[in-house]
């Protein structure tokens, strides 16, 4: 499988990373190089092999339904590039 410029553009949009048109082709080249390298996995027979999602063989731990956190809006907002009236402030969505 080979990635074309339109695909790079689509992926970059999904990832919300602006890429200059001039940078698209080199990026496509790099991505294709990496993808063609990882495609060696196609050689491995994985029929009936379950995917490994965690190496931890344990039960999912659960917390009790008790309020133990929150109540520190000043800490939540402390690093915000812009905060107003206790809210995070961001530019509006432009359609």
């Amino acid at each position: 499988m080979s990635i074309d410029l339109a695909t790079v553009r689509r992926i970059a949009h999904l990832a919300r990373i602006d890429i200059d048109d001039a940078a698209l082709a080199p990026m496509a080249g790099e991505l294709n190089q990496i993808l063609s390298w990882v495609e060696q996995l196609a050689q491995v027979n994985t029929d009936g092999v379950p995917p490994l999602t965690s190496v931890v063989d344990a039960e999912l731990p659960r917390r009790a339904d008790v309020v133990t956190d929150g109540g520190y809006p000043q800490d939540v907002l402390a690093n915000a590039p812009r905060a107003e009236h206790g809210f995070f402030a961001v530019p509006k969505v432009i359609e």
Binding site: V44, D75, I94
Partner: protein, 492 residues
């Protein structure tokens, strides 16, 4: 004391407990050394005031007789760890100015035990790299240079600031994180000891995530004993991390019995690659001989899917990263680039300006392999191969107690020399398989190459069996008698 910096962590600990010197004196020596070593660029943030305050507290505790096991020990902390009110940027521009209002569990454990923070160490941006050249604060330089050479070398990565700091004796020990080799490879490149414990041994809470199913914290130190002491404090079950293992933390230092008689050491045949330099192969054989001499039984084993580990890793890790790094959007912290466009324009501009080239590359690869139509062919396939890789280890560990391999396929290379991404990825060829299987592994220095640069050997253990890894490491350390040190060319 004439030279505080020459002490190992264990020696310094014992000296402090004996009140031979104070934590303040030790901190002063390290603060001075750290400031004099800025040419290395190992620290991205120095916190001398905090170090002095923590040293004072350690001295008080030592005087009161209630000091913790690390009282007064000055450490470097990888910038991936969130440290309260101290810049924590993962060496990325996108976290510009970020000072968390919380402390990671691992660093909190260290402070609980009395350790002293010297500062934050630089790293490859978001821990994605093997050379620490991509830090927003600039590349870190390896204290080691080739014999008769002035060429600046990389300290390995991504925990290169930590490995350089330990090697240059501007920290008594340091924290690292290892996703595919980011503790072990830099340790090998700098003649230091690095342990990546079992996945789940150290809490990931408060460590900036790269690839959640692989990320694991561990120590970088000068000796196996020092690393064992640090690991004991760093490890432990954390209810705030759902993947943290609820198991008792053994006294790792006590594992250093030196007795490995009858222990079965596996030599995986697939690690004999054709590209491996002869001197690394020779060092590996030397390691085998040392262990045999100490009474261990050497067993040849096979890990048949080893050759697919890197490709598997370079699907799984970027996939998880693409999602983990979505939160860097300029809304709640860090960089925001806003040119008057709308919300989505702000996202795209912020992330374009905030992430470096390699990070972007991995986010894009990760986004692609998870996207509709490609998930099965890439991501699912990789997770299936990962199962096979884990099974290989499980099979091997039915026959042996520990595995011995080289840590990296080369010694430290020059800054700026490796520009091809895949060539860079190949640094992790020997470290990635244990990461994928979540197994504990350690790199320790075992010799020098002909240029006079350190080389490391790797020990891989069974799940939660860091003790055997440490025990065998201690035997190799003693047999190797590695005493070489970099010349302090960087001191200003």
């Amino acid at each position: 004391m004439s030279d505080f910096l020459a002490l190992t962590l264990a020696e310094a600990r014992d000296g402090l407990y004996r009140r031979d010197f104070t934590a303040r004196e030790l901190a002063d020596a390290y603060i001075e050394a750290m400031a004099a070593a800025r040419a290395l660029n190992a620290y991205c943030a120095e916190t001398p005031e905090r170090a002095l305050a923590m040293a004072a507290a350690a001295d008080q505790a030592l005087a009161a007789g209630n000091a913790g096991p690390l009282a007064g020990i000055p450490l470097g902390i990888k910038d991936l760890f969130c440290t309260k009110d101290v810049l924590s940027q993962a060496s990325s521009r996108i976290l510009e100015g970020f000072k968390p209002r919380y402390e990671s569990t691992v660093t909190a454990n260290l402070w609980r035990d009395g350790a002293v923070m010297l500062g934050k160490t630089a790293m490859d941006e978001f821990a994605m790299g093997s050379s620490t050249e991509t830090a927003v604060t600039g590349p870190v330089t390896n204290p080691w240079r080739g014999e008769g050479s002035n060429k600046n070398l990389v300290p390995g990565g991504s925990s290169g600031g930590s490995s350089a700091a330990v090697a240059a004796k501007i920290a008594l020990g340091a924290t690292g994180t290892d996703t595919g080799g980011s503790i072990r490879q830099p340790a090998a490149f700098t003649g230091t000891v690095g342990i990546k414990p079992t996945y789940g041994r150290c809490s990931r809470w408060g460590i900036i995530a790269f690839a959640s199913s692989l990320d694991q914290a561990g120590p970088i130190a000068r000796t196996v004993r020092d690393a064992a002491i640090l690991l004991k404090s760093m490890a432990g079950h954390d209810p705030k991390d759902s993947t943290s293992i609820n198991a008792p933390v053994p006294d790792f230092e006590a594992a250093l019995s030196g007795d490995i008689r009858g222990l079965k050491v596996g030599i995986p045949k697939e690690y004999h690659t054709t590209q491996m330099p002869a001197e690394i192969e020779a060092l590996w054989q030397q390691g085998i001989a040392w262990l045999k001499d100490a009474g261990a039984k050497i067993v040849d084993v096979s890990l048949p899917h080893t050759q697919y580990a890197l490709a598997t890793y370079y699907i799984v890790a970027p996939a998880e990263a693409s999602s983990n790094l979505a939160r860097y959007d300029g809304v709640r912290y860090g960089l925001r680039v806003n040119n008057g466009g709308g919300l989505h324009d702000m996202y795209a501009k912020t992330r374009a300006a905030g992430f470096g080239k390699e990070v972007k590359r991995r986010i894009l690869i990760g986004t692609y392999v998870l996207s509709a139509g490609y998930y099965d062919a890439y991501y699912l396939k990789a997770q299936q191969v990962r199962t096979l890789i884990a099974r290989d280890f499980a099979e091997a560990f039915k026959k042996v107690d520990v595995l011995l391999t080289p840590t990296a396929p080369s010694s430290a290379f020059g800054i700026g020399e490796t520009t091809d991404p895949i060539a860079m990825y190949l640094n992790d060829v020997f470290t990635v398989p244990a990461s994928l299987a979540g197994l504990p592994a350690m790199s320790l220095p075992a010799g020098l190459d002909k240029a006079g640069l350190p080389l490391g050997l790797q020990l891989i253990g069974k799940v939660l069996d860091e003790e055997t890894v440490i025990k065998v490491g201690g035997v190799i350390e003693r047999a190797a008698g590695f005493a070489a040190q970099p010349k302090p060319w960087w001191r200003s």
